[in-house]
């Protein structure tokens, strides 16, 4: 498996203010693997995520960044979120490290099996989204706490590659 680049690193204060910046970087890194191109070349916000691989990576990363900013750093920052992205020709691995409070991933409740007006969830969906979008997601509580996200490029998610 050939690495496309050395690990790409970003270090940002652990607040939601830096979320869009981090998501944009991850979206671009996903495109390195998927080979997708922007439909709108003038989209500077990197919102133009259409490829299934990019969609999965961006969706999962955004949820985990939210989780760190909210649960580890309690929305007040006070530490860094270190992001290390390793793209290869077949997969993308993202590691997020923080020095905030550990998160109890075992406390995350499953989504209701039957959805209706009373059971539609208004919270607790983030970890479920991230885990389902990825091929592998692990969490090692610390500090430092370490999230490791892995998405494999398969035929089913490689629309952008010829």
């Amino acid at each position: 498996m050939a690495a496309l680049a050395a690990p790409i690193r970003l270090s940002v204060p652990g607040t939601l203010r830096y979320r869009a910046l981090a998501v944009r970087l991850v979206a671009e890194a996903a495109r390195l693997v998927s080979g997708s191109s922007r439909k709108d070349p003038n989209d500077n916000l990197a919102n133009d995520v259409r490829d299934p691989f990019d969609t999965a990576v961006v969706s999962a990363f955004a949820e985990i960044f939210n989780n760190v900013a909210i649960h580890a750093y309690k929305r007040h920052g006070g530490g860094l979120i270190e992001v290390a992205i390793t793209p290869t020709d077949r997969e993308l691995i993202i590691e997020l490290t923080d020095d905030g409070a550990p998160f109890d991933i075992d406390e995350v409740a499953p989504l209701p099996s039957d959805l209706d007006d009373t059971t539609l969830p208004e919270g607790g969906m983030g970890i479920h989204i991230a885990k389902t979008m990825l091929d592998e997601m692990t969490y090692e509580p610390g500090p430092p706490n370490l999230w490791r996200l892995r998405k494999v490029l398969t035929a089913a998610v490689s629309n952008g590659r010829s």
Partner: protein, 101 residues
């Protein structure tokens, strides 16, 4: 830069247009608007998501709040134009069937 959302009220129908990214940073101001919409007990609400590029769980929560609020007030709600990443998220959460996407 265009506002990420706007509301159009016409007779008994209210249309909420959401654009760009509906996420943990943009959902709170939309939630305030949603409270106003629900308080008005509209008979019909259309949520136009054709311009929505990205959504996260906070954005989904805001739309679920609107859905529940409108229906509990006796109104109907339709979400239209959902595509790409937001559609993938609704499908993952199995809300596509609830919302008739």
């Amino acid at each position: 830069m265009a506002s990420p959302f706007d509301v159009q009220r016409r007779d008994t129908e209210t249309t909420l247009v959401v654009r760009g990214s509906l996420d943990i940073n943009t959902a709170p101001p939309l939630a305030e608007e949603i409270d106003k919409i629900v308080a008005g007990r509209p008979k019909k609400v259309v949520v136009d998501l054709a311009g929505l590029d990205l959504i996260d769980s906070s954005g989904v929560a805001a739309l679920v709040k609107l859905y529940k609020g409108v229906r509990s007030g006796g109104g109907t709600i339709a979400m239209t134009g959902v595509r790409d990443q937001p559609l993938a998220i609704f499908k993952l959460l199995r809300m596509d069937k609830v919302f008739n996407l």
